[in-house]
Structure formats: C-alpha cells, structure tokens
C-alpha cells in the first residue's frame, strides 16, 4: 500500500530523514512510533506529497508520491494533528463542500452514522468546536468516503480521554475496510488496533514488525539474586535497558525465547534465585528501545 525507500530530507543543514525506508502492507493498521523529532511527521508529509524528499522515493497506492493527484486523494483520508478546517463554515456546510470531490464514493449513511456515533452537531460553526470535536469531525470527513488508505498524524494528541476513546472506537469500527498509517504517542490506546509497528529514531527506521512478532520477542525479565545485584560486565547484546536495584536485576530481552533463558541468565549472572518474565506493552517496548537508542548516541533522555 505504501513503500518508501531511503528517504532523505534536509532542511538547510538539518537532516530530518537520514535514509528512511518503510513498508505498509495492504490491510494493515501500521503505527509509526518514535520520539519527538524522530521524523514521523516529515515522513508522512512526504508520503502525502505535502513536502518533497531531498532523495529517495516513495509509492503510495502504487503511485509515486510526488505524482499524487486528486484521483489518488479521493481514496486517501488524511487527518493531521494541526488539521486546518475552515473556521467560518458550519459542519454541515463543510460536508456539503466536500461531498462533490468524492462523487459516488461518499457514503451519506456512513457520514450520518459517524456524526451520531462521535456525538457531533450537524450544524455548528467549525470555529466554535473544541479541539477534540474538530479532530473527531476531521475523522468523520476522512472516513465518510470509505478511503482505501487512512493516514493519521498524531490524531490523539491534545484530546481528553473520553474523546480519545470515541475517536478510537470510530476508527476501530472502520479499520477492516481500509489500510491505516498512523503516528502516535498514545501507545496504550492504539495497541489493540495496530497490526504493524515501525519504530523511527533519528530519521531512520530502527525496525518494523508485525505486532504478533513484536509481542512474542520482547519480555521484561526480572532476576532475583541471593545478594545485591550489580550489572554484569558482559551480557548478550539483545538484553537492553539493564538496571540493578536491591537484589533484583531487570532487563528487556529483545530476542526472548522461553527455552534456555535460565541457562543464558546463569551463564552471565551468579547467585540467581528466581527468574520472572512478563510480556510487555507496546509503550514499554518503545521506552526501552528509545532509551537504548539514546544511550547509543550518548544523548540524554
């Protein structure tokens, strides 16, 4: 659905993207995650042809992103955090304005159902809507034509918990019909919805993976020792974010497998009493990997 190869984007001397590649499979719900300034919005803007890559190419719906025309835009729903909508129009006027662009593709029944589900007024000046309502309204506008691709850049940021929840509910209900690319920091909220994750750090793709594989290979490991824990001088490279506190040593195993973990731990740590492993939420996986990336570059978090 989307494929980008080696995208580089320079703003004067600053390199925002340093060879970013990504691949969003058909029918997936792909979450682009990464720290602030990692390059998520820059990447999305290039994919949506709102900005040009300095180098590298991307195809969206089989078309070079630089050649995206109204024909493709009719099949792409896009909502950005800083979504601009005409403040002077009412919601109904804006929907009247949008519909002709999509012709037969616009589904009025779905529009009505979404407005009701999202508890949005039919007739209110857009400028008088709260930020949360504006974002929900933008989602309705992006879903009502049943797009093949839905792109959401930080859609949940600045929304209160109730509005976020309504937003996610509307999204989950339509997710089966469209491919989704979204960037978000609200990882607990999106965890159930996303099928693929791409982890951007410092303008590069650290890894991209299906959620099932990701959930399977990451574990928080907690080793209880007979004495005060110290970080071992040598440890497998796949163990990250290692911490010692009291008699407990914790780390994140990024290549977890149940069999042989005990032997691997005892090979580098003495006096092991107990080993406990916990599956990790997307959010914890992200923070562990972000800390490691920051440590590797020597920067502070």
């Amino acid at each position: 659905m989307i494929r980008a190869v080696n995208l580089i984007k320079r703003f004067r001397r600053f390199e925002a993207l340093k060879g970013l590649s990504l691949n969003v499979p058909d029918g997936s719900a792909y979450a682009l995650i990464g720290s602030n300034g990692a390059g998520k919005t820059t990447a999305i803007r290039i994919l949506m042809n709102l900005s040009q890559a300095t180098e590298g190419t991307a195809t969206v719906l089989g078309v070079d992103s630089r050649a995206i025309s109204p024909r493709e835009l009719c099949q792409i729903g896009f909502v950005a955090e800083s979504q601009r909508l005409p403040a002077g129009l009412s919601t109904a006027q804006y929907l009247d304005y949008l519909r002709p662009f999509y012709g037969e593709g616009w589904d009025r029944d779905l529009e009505t159902a979404l407005l009701r589900q999202m508890r949005l007024p039919r007739e209110r000046k857009i400028g008088h809507l709260s930020h949360g309502m504006r974002m929900k309204f933008a989602l309705v506008c992006a879903l009502a034509f049943r797009p093949r691709l839905l792109v959401l850049d930080e859609p949940l940021s600045g929304l209160d918990p109730l509005i976020r929840d309504e937003f996610m509910q509307g999204l989950a209900e339509q997710a089966g019909e469209t491919t989704i690319l979204l960037s978000s920091h609200e990882m607990n909220e999106i965890e159930g919805l996303v099928t693929h994750v791409g982890f951007i750090e410092d303008g590069r793709m650290l890894f991209e993976e299906g959620m099932t594989g990701l959930a399977g290979r990451f574990r928080q490991v907690c080793v209880t020792l007979a004495r005060e824990a110290v970080r071992p001088s040598v440890a497998p490279a796949e163990w990250v974010d290692m911490r010692a506190a009291g008699n407990v040593l914790t780390f994140v195993d990024t290549r977890f497998s149940e069999s042989g973990l005990g032997e691997r731990v005892r090979a580098v740590i003495e006096g092991v009493r107990d080993i406990d492993t916990e599956p990790m939420a997307l959010r914890s996986i992200f923070t562990a990997m972000a800390r490691r990336a920051a440590a590797a570059t020597g920067s502070e978090l």
Binding site: Q169, L171, A172, E173, G176, M187, G192, D276, A281, L282
Partner: protein, 132 residues
C-alpha cells in the same frame, strides 16, 4: 452488544485475551446456547481492536464449536462439544505444567493448588448446571 466484563490489558496478545474472555463467558453461562454472539464490527468498536483480530477470534471459536455461524444472522453460541484429543493433551501436559511451575515458584502447596482449581471448577460448572 459485546462481551460482558472484558477489559483488555496491554502487552498480552489481544487475540488470546479475547478468546479467553469469550470462552469464559460461554462456560460461565453469561451466554447461553442459541444466544446471539456480538458481531465482529461490534467487538472491534467496543474493544477498540482491529476487526481482523475480532474475526480471527470468532473463526477460532467456530472451529472449537463454541460458536455457530448462521448465514445472514451472524453467529450464535453453540453447545460446547467434547474437546478434541490434541486439546486435552495440550492442556494436561503443557498448561498444567505451567501452573505447577508458577505455583512452586510462589511457594504454594499442592493442596492449595487443588483447592483453587476445585473452586473455579465448581463455580463454572454450577453456572452451566443452572443453564441446563
């Protein structure tokens, strides 16, 4: 309509959590045979999960005989049939071993484990009795 008393926890595979909640709801009598089961779309919207995941869960439950597809009507709760041999073997060897290891790890005694299993068993089978 969705599953009663389900709340998903991040970090655990959604599909497993959903299957567990559905089986529990069926065996504990929260759903009776013949009763309509939530649609894929309703499950996805209510739980904020991807419809594909909900679809996989429903397919799996149909395979297990816990749900029956009624074309045009959606799925209804079936009558749980006898378990397949592989399921029994898997439960008796792997799952119980896991329980035993966890129990030993936290220092439980065998009678405590048996008592706890009995409690769960009685609670769930009572619900099924009432239903019959």
């Amino acid at each position: 309509m969705t599953l009663p008393r389900i709340s998903l926890r991040p970090g655990r595979p959604i599909l497993d959590q959903l299957l567990f909640a559905a089986r529990k709801a069926i065996f504990s009598g929260e759903f009776s045979p013949g009763q309509a089961f939530p649609s894929i779309r309703a499950l996805a919207a209510e739980l904020r999960i991807h419809p594909n995941t909900a679809h996989k869960a429903v397919q799996q439950l149909i395979q297990e005989g816990l749900l029956v597809a009624r074309p045009g009507l959606g799925t209804v709760v079936g009558r749980p049939a006898g378990a397949r041999k592989t399921d029994r073997r898997k439960l008796l060897s792997e799952e119980f071993e896991r329980v035993v290891i966890d129990a030993m790890r936290v220092g439980l005694e065998l009678p405590e484990v048996i008592e706890s299993i009995e409690e769960h068993w009685l609670r769930l089978s009572k619900a099924t009795e009432v239903r019959k």
